[in-house]
């Protein structure tokens, strides 16, 4: 990186110019696609609600939410542009970056526009592995070796810091300018063809002025963000290896030196500058902001994005939510503590029946107390906790007999409880109404909220998921969580180190059951009924599949796994037939072709077949799950390579010349 210092934002050096072209083009394509698809219609609806399309909400609250989303979205994108320009070493080729962005951002967008969110993402899940496969083949054929990854561990001095900051500003500014110009041209075309009202033209001009200014200031902010991820120089410019290292500098470097090579690579990925800025944790933070904004405002955005039918889609996502909670709960038992639980559905059933029996007229039949249906639904809020505690209690009670058991004996006993509990609910019909289940379970109550639509449930489950994720992360990092992981890895070693096996295991069962109790109470309230058919061994197996497919022990993995399995099983496979009935859908000819060979063919008939094949394929190609936990990834790599080099055994410290040659053993 031999860039000269000041070159001004408008006349960047050739190096910077290359980076600017690379990232401005890479980002502008998806952003323009998104804007033309619905970003524009959202803004237009906010600016002049009168001209908005018929099916979009135009009440003030929705419009404010939509406005907040757009502002957050475009700010995050401008920041991202600046950050990426600053964070790139520029060693990877432009074409490769553009191909990556095309496949991982533009293609999904187009597929989602064409086929809807879920089917679009599912198609992406087919496209992405193919792309990676092809890319790897091409690399292999061209004998491609990635540039040495440790370059970025070099210390950045003041001069280079200034360059980085300048590049970030330039990045955001140029991106904003390009975007403003493109939007203006498009709007002018619309205006002169007569389909743009004057108020929107005024807005277009205002926007053209605002955007570059915003770009400049956001770029400076992006520069600050990027600089925070560099290895800074210590106080008096004495290089990185001097004897008077600053405290903070030393700690970053020493930490890196103390880590294994694998870890060094992982850490290097997060530093600025690096070769793959799109995958660095700095960029991931922006993706997270975009994702959170999207998820938070989704109910308002949905009509803009996908047209009518919002309520049904939201209901589907709300159901997916309790699977996320269940998978997270099961992850504690199976993923953290390593106790294979094949009867997790028992606790879900207990949670569901807890609110089902208390929050409905069934409570009156059982106890003889007449409940007031106006007041009683309020009881839902404490009963979320109540159902969770009841389930946790049963987790302890059912976990206790399994304490002496190991491995699959434990699995079969949990399976046994998973079978017994639903049978008890089914046959004790005096209390549970047997096979008919309990109907008329009350929805939660909250003033001013209409629980007959899906939106409140969407936000309820979102809030619950956030709570559960928070609890899971805190549990994982707590003393108890470390004890769970210790008994998973080696029970005897853990016990010898002072881990109380009985207590730790029982807490694992209790914590797992606690979360399924929350999911159960939500499930009963949302469905409005509880039926014993919902709790079979097959359901336990599905929850386990979510955990394993996502990546056992990894919280983001389990969330993705739950959403993926639910989407495949319920949102896609269950709806193939109705999709194929629509002549405009790409499945229509497929269905007809198969039905010509096998008369009477429907996708419903082979739903489990497809699901089974998907399970087997995912497991064969990704046995460690979609997003394995960092610890497991390291373990697996260790087992494969068994040549893991510890830094301590090397003669050359990382970063020094020659280090790479010594490390490259994989």
């Amino acid at each position: 990186m031999s860039t000269s210092v000041s070159s001004g934002m408008l006349l960047p050096t050739p190096d910077t110019r290359r980076l600017l072209i690379k990232w401005v083009v890479a980002l502008i394509v998806p952003v323009v696609v998104f804007t033309l698809w619905s970003g524009e219609s959202i803004i237009n609806a906010v600016i002049s609600p009168a001209t908005a399309a018929g099916n979009v909400p135009t009440d003030p609250v929705s419009l404010i939410e939509a406005a907040i989303f757009t502002v957050v979205f475009y700010i995050a994108v401008l920041l991202l542009a600046g950050y990426l320009v600053a964070a790139d070493t520029g060693r990877r080729s432009i074409i490769e970056t553009w191909a990556d962005v095309l496949i991982f951002a533009v293609v999904p967008l187009i597929l989602i526009i064409l086929f809807g969110l879920i089917i679009g993402l599912a198609l992406c899940a087919i496209v992405w592995p193919l792309y990676i496969l092809i890319k790897n083949q091409i690399r292999k054929a061209r004998h491609y070796t990635p540039p040495a990854p440790l370059e970025s561990l070099t210390v950045i001095d003041a001069e280079q810091r200034a360059i980085l900051a300048g590049r970030a500003t330039a990045g955001s500014f140029w991106f904003a300018l390009a975007f403003a110009v493109i939007s203006l041209v498009v709007d002018l075309v619309y205006f002169f063809s007569g389909s743009l009202p004057v108020i929107l033209l005024i807005w277009a001009i205002v926007r053209t002025i605002i955007l570059p200014v915003a770009g400049y200031f956001l770029g400076r902010l992006a520069g600050q963000i990027a600089l925070r991820r560099t290895i800074p120089e210590k106080g008096n410019g004495n290089g990185g290896n001097g004897a008077h290292r600053g405290k903070r500098v030393a700690s970053v470097q020493q930490q890196l030196e103390a880590l294994s090579t694998t870890r060094v690579r992982e850490e290097a990925k997060d530093l600025v500058p690096n070769d793959l800025p799109l995958r660095s944790s700095g960029a991931q933070r922006f993706y997270l902001i975009l994702l959170v904004a999207f998820v938070l405002f989704y109910p308002v955005l949905d009509p803009f994005l996908f047209g009518s039918g919002t309520d049904g889609r939201l209901a589907g996502y709300g159901d997916a939510g309790y699977y996320v909670i269940l998978a997270l709960g099961l992850n504690i038992v199976v993923g953290f503590a390593g106790l294979l639980d094949l009867g997790y559905v028992a606790f879900f059933a207990i949670g569901s029946y807890a609110w089902g029996m208390i929050g409905s007229t069934q409570f009156g039949y059982i106890t003889g107390i007449h409940v007031n249906p106006q007041i009683w639904p309020w009881f839902f809020w404490p009963m979320i906790l109540g159902a969770a505690l009841i389930a946790a209690l049963w987790g302890v009670l059912l976990g206790a007999p399994t304490l002496r058991l190991r491995g699959d004996y434990l699995a079969i006993v949990t399976l046994g409880f998973g079978e017994i509990v639903p049978i008890v609910f089914l046959e004790m019909d005096k209390y549970t109404n047997g096979t008919n289940g309990i109907v008329g379970v009350y929805s939660p109550a909250l003033p001013g909220v209409d629980w007959s639509s899906s939106t409140p449930y969407y936000y309820l489950i979102l809030a619950l998921i956030v709570l559960v994720i928070f609890a899971n992360v805190r549990l994982r990092d707590s003393r108890l969580g470390r004890a769970w992981i210790a008994i998973r890895e080696d029970e005897i070693a853990a016990e010898s180190s002072g881990v109380n096996l009985v207590r730790t295991k029982l807490f694992a069962f209790a914590a797992g059951a606690f979360f399924s109790g929350i999911a159960g109470a939500y499930h009963a309230a949302k469905l409005g009924s509880v039926s014993p058919d919902n709790f079979s061994f097959g359901d336990s197996v599905i929850y386990l599949a979510m955990v394993v497919i996502g990546g056992i022990g990894s919280i983001p993995g389990v969330i993705v796994g739950a959403l993926a399995v639910y989407a495949i099983n319920v949102l896609i496979l269950a709806q193939l037939d109705s999709l194929a009935a629509n002549p405009n859908n790409f499945l229509y000819p497929v269905h007809n072709a198969i039905a010509a060979v096998f008369p009477g063919f429907t996708f419903g008939n082979i739903r489990n077949l497809i699901f089974g094949v998907i399970l087997v394929i995912i497991m064969i190609y990704r046995p460690e799950g979609l997003i394995p936990s960092a610890r497991r990834k390291r373990e697996l790599r260790h087992a494969e390579g068994d040549e893991a080099v510890e830094i301590g055994s090397l003669d050359v410290p990382p970063g020094a010349p020659g280090f790479e040659d010594e490390v490259r053993v994989e």
């Binding site: 079969i412 017994i420 008890v424 089914l426 394993v548 077949l609 399970l615």
Partner: protein, 318 residues
């Protein structure tokens, strides 16, 4: 007392079928430590194969069954064909879904097994429909009186076939070269490989034998009960797996004992009276609760003997 003995006979007959399925579970578990959830579905496929082969011979539930040597011949051919097809299916399953995962994390093959189970179930449903299918009752139903209790010819056939298969299996495992290889691989796969055992082939043979037993179980289950449906394999498979665990998983004699015990417990459970009509018992009678009773007893036994009835308490390696 008569009732008790009568129910005991029913229990032992059912138990023999459970034992045959449980053997497949326990063999596979013993050798690769995998709960093969698809095993029960292979049993179901075996049943459907038998029905189809009967159809090839022109035997349906309405046609009059042949007698004499023709009957014996058809029965033997059908049973062997069902065993063979299931065995091949088992080997294919191992090759496609489990072998690539042999060194994967422990739960990956479990999910893969569940996937295979879903696939087989769906194939069964596509093949014979989603409702109950009748299994032609071609074996003459003769009832013998043994003192106060009666036993039917089908029960005797079931018992004889299972006994013969179990004896053959025990001989195969204990007295042949292949059996020795299987035991060696089960004890220590790497050491066995170093001693010249072809591990891949031995595991394949284990699946072959286990699936063949499931095929035979499917055949005699059909003869005994006369009808079946595509999802029955998974349910029975669960019970059979429980039997394998009860006896001590990985232990052949344990699987047989466990199977018979579970059969007897299940039959006895149906004696529990209905508490809605009497003062004592369970709501809707014991039959509705039989699975719960089986699992409750399993839990009780495992609490006191954590490795099953005949399983060895392996000392923990440190």
């Amino acid at each position: 007392m008569t009732l008790f003995l009568q129910i005991l006979i029913v229990g032992i007959t059912t138990g023999a079928i459970y034992a045959l399925i449980a053997l497949g579970y326990t063999m596979v578990y013993g050798i690769i430590e995998l709960i093969n959830f698809a095993h029960g579905d292979i049993f179901m496929i075996g049943m459907f194969v038998s029905i189809s082969i009967f159809g090839l011979f022109g035997i349906t539930s309405s046609a009059s069954p042949p007698r004499g040597f023709a009957l014996v011949g058809i029965l033997v051919v059908t049973c062997l064909a069902s065993m063979l097809i299931c065995a091949v299916l088992g080997v294919v399953m191992e090759r496609v879904a489990y072998r690539p995962l042999r060194n994967a994390p422990r739960l990956a093959p479990l999910i893969s097994a569940i996937g295979v189970s879903l696939i087989l179930e769906n194939i069964g449903a596509l093949w014979k429909g989603v409702s109950f299918v009748t299994f032609p009752q071609i074996f003459p139903q003769i009832t013998y009186n043994l003192g106060p209790v009666t036993i039917s010819s089908v029960n005797i056939l079931v018992l004889v076939v299972s006994l013969v298969l179990m004896v053959v299996l025990m001989w195969l495992v204990n007295n042949t070269r292949t059996g020795r290889a299987m035991r060696a691989v089960a004890q220590d796969r790497e050491a066995a490989a170093l001693m010249g055992v072809n591990v891949d082939r031995t595991i394949g043979i284990t699946f072959f034998i286990g699936a063949a037993l499931a095929g035979a179980a499917g055949f005699i289950y059909g003869l005994q009960y006369g009808s079946s449906v595509f999802y029955i394999g998974f349910q029975l498979g669960l019970v059979a797996f429980t039997a394998a665990v009860l006896g001590g998983i990985g232990n052949l004699a344990g699987a047989m004992l466990g199977g018979v015990l579970i059969g007897v417990i299940e039959a006895l459970a149906s004696l529990i009276p209905d508490s809605n009509t009497g003062s004592f018992g369970l709501p809707h009678g014991g039959a509705a609760w039989h699975e719960a009773v089986i699992f409750a007893i399993l839990v009780l036994i495992l609490v006191f003997r954590p490795s099953g009835l005949l399983g060895q308490q392996t000392p923990e390696k440190v």
